[in-house]
């Protein structure tokens, strides 16, 4: 499943470089917060260039899983990750977290633009990681990819806090794209958005398919059905089922999956 060619040719990412999406393999991973076990024995292969949706009831660890993939979970006290998580064959638990996070971008549940101008927001990652590239061109291309350029091209120097929530969330996507990651983690990105913004967001996700490996956490079945190629169903900290979206939604193999998708229980 892992693309060996990409692994061999891997170099430091820069915004100007074309780069292939990376695959992530999670092997027997266990996550514990102090005494509580959040995830237990999870085995998933996220295929490169595809959209994988993580679904499951609240408290099943579906937010924790993507946070392990860019090691943001380490920021919380008492969190321990055991097992192996491979990004293009490298174990991320042994990588430098700064380098890892440049390759694995993340969009959060609540839009979290920085208290800076729109332009500064997009360029933040580039400046923080000291990449060398054409700033103006990067801002333009990233905002275009996030379908924001036409709305915002006249007010790039305004504060990002003045934008609407939907625009803020798409700005966060643009910001994430600027460092040109291989993988993008989306943690319930549409949960605080209105229907129109959600549609635009889903359109951008569909557009980014093939270019980036995307992992989207969602509790909206329609969204999962619409945007994802693969679905992972988590329940009680365990991976119950993983497969192609159509297969999971039409012919789930497990009773729990069937119940959750049809909304019978939970």
């Amino acid at each position: 499943m892992i693309n060996t060619e990409i692994r061999d040719n891997h170099k430091l990412p820069t915004s100007c470089m074309e780069k292939a999406p990376g695959g992530i393999e999670v092997i027997q991973t266990e996550v514990r917060y102090n005494e509580t076990t959040i995830l237990e024995g999870v085995d998933i292969v996220f295929p490169p260039g595809k959209v994988t949706a993580i679904i499951g009831p609240s408290g099943c660890g579906k937010t924790t899983l993507p946070r392990c993939l860019n090691r943001l979970s380490e920021l919380a006290q008492g969190c321990k990750v055991k097992g192996q998580i491979l990004l293009d064959g490298e174990n991320i638990l042994e990588m430098d977290p700064m380098l890892l996070r440049r390759r694995v971008g993340m969009v959060f549940q609540k839009p979290n633009p920085f208290p800076k101008s729109i332009r500064e927001n997009v360029l933040y990652g580039i400046k923080a990681t000291q990449m060398k590239c054409d700033h103006d061109a990067t801002v333009k291309s990233c905002l275009q990819k996030a379908a924001l350029w036409d709305e915002l091209k006249d007010r790039l120097h305004h504060s990002a806090f003045a934008l609407s929530i939907g625009q803020q969330q798409r700005l966060c996507i643009a910001r994430c794209l600027a460092v040109n990651p291989e993988v993008i983690l989306l943690d319930e990105p549409a949960s605080s958005l209105d229907p129109v913004s959600t549609m635009k967001l889903e359109a951008s996700i569909m557009e980014m398919k093939g270019e980036y490996t995307q992992i989207i956490v969602t509790h909206n079945m329609n969204e999962a059905l619409k945007v994802s190629d693969y679905v992972a169903f988590l329940y009680g900290g365990k991976l119950i089922e993983f497969g192609e979206t159509k297969t999971i939604f039409n012919h789930p193999r497990h009773q729990e999956t069937q119940d959750y998708i049809t909304g019978k229980v939970y």
Binding site: Q77, N112, Y124, G125, T129, A160
Partner: protein
Amino acid sequence: MKILSAITMVISAFALVMGCLSLSLNTLKAYPTVLLFLMSLSFFSLFILVRQTTKKNNWVMLFFCILAAAFAVLHMILPEYLYGFNLNAIIHSSFISALLLIAIATPAICYSLFYFFGATPKALDISRYPLLILPALLILIVYTLLLAQVVTKGVSSFSWKILITAFKSHNWVETVWKDGWPIRISHTILQAGMLNHILGTLLLMLMTAIIALIVGVGVGVYISEYSKGWFASTIRFSSQVLRAISIFILAITAYNLVRYARGTFLSSIICGFYYDEIGTKHIASGSYLTAAIFLALLVIPIIANATEEGIRSLPKEISEGSFSLGASREYTLSHILLPWSMPNIITGLILGCAEAAGSLTVILFLAGTGEYGVSPWNGVTSLTYFIFNGQFGRTLGNAQFYDLNYKYQYMAAVILLVITFGLTIGALTLKNKVARRFKGA
């Protein structure tokens, strides 16, 4: 009813103002008795009117009426000075009359408001306002009187010449050889002025601000971001305790430091020094640097606290967003956390600088007359010390300074006020600008 309660309202409002004034002035002997009688009268007429219209007796109002009459009589027979009664001081009768006036005027205003607005529940609400406003009014009047006194005296004694010359008081004897004979010429320079004190205040503020900003922000960042557990709480606790130390103890410590540093290799820095007109080096009783360090000890906890609060007020998602883009901890700190908490830091700094400008206690034992220049290693002095010396210089043995400068102590006070006001206004504008820029409000 309306007319009567309006009249009562005017009388009692006047009585209230008079009462507040007589807290600080003792020349209003004639008014209180008349006012108290008038209020008693209006209470009585209100009582009668209410009894006629509502067929009910408001006994509380009658009680206040009798009380006001009693107070008026009491005030008539009050001697000008009170002593005895186990009091350790002599109290002027104006103080008592102020208390009597306020005690009667407040309920009078409340009742007149109540009946003026027609005795409805809303009127009851309105009639409670005076009770809320009274403390604010008292404070306002006291501060206005103080400020007015300082400003009028300061402006009337204002002089440009004093502003731009430095205080000098020095005698020395020069020996000139003429025809083989020594001729001794005595020189004296006596010059009133406060230039060095103004510059000294500014320098002291600047140095304190720099020291306290560097250390305070460092401590705040360390507590909130880097240190976890008992060590952080120990630092936080000790900085709070440091804030609670009596300033006088710090002053004594500073004095002892200077005393023991004298004669050692550090004496030039800690004690301060100056050269007089004929080039002799003198050791001062404390340098600007020492004073600034001890003042900074007071300001550091304020700034550390402000920094910590500012950093804590940043939503966690935003710093996580920064980390998720591959930014290092230091980059996040300098580009997100510190700009975000900048308004808080500036507020802390304003408080700190005002403290440095107005604090006398810390530099009480260090300060000199400030004759010889203003730089970090010269003897410390400031406007507060100028004011202090203008009042007590003769008692403390600074007779020449007192004689030359005592006339200008109010002018110094006004300049100190101007400096602190200017600083505060400037810093507030800066803070608003920074807040708008970084928070996009």
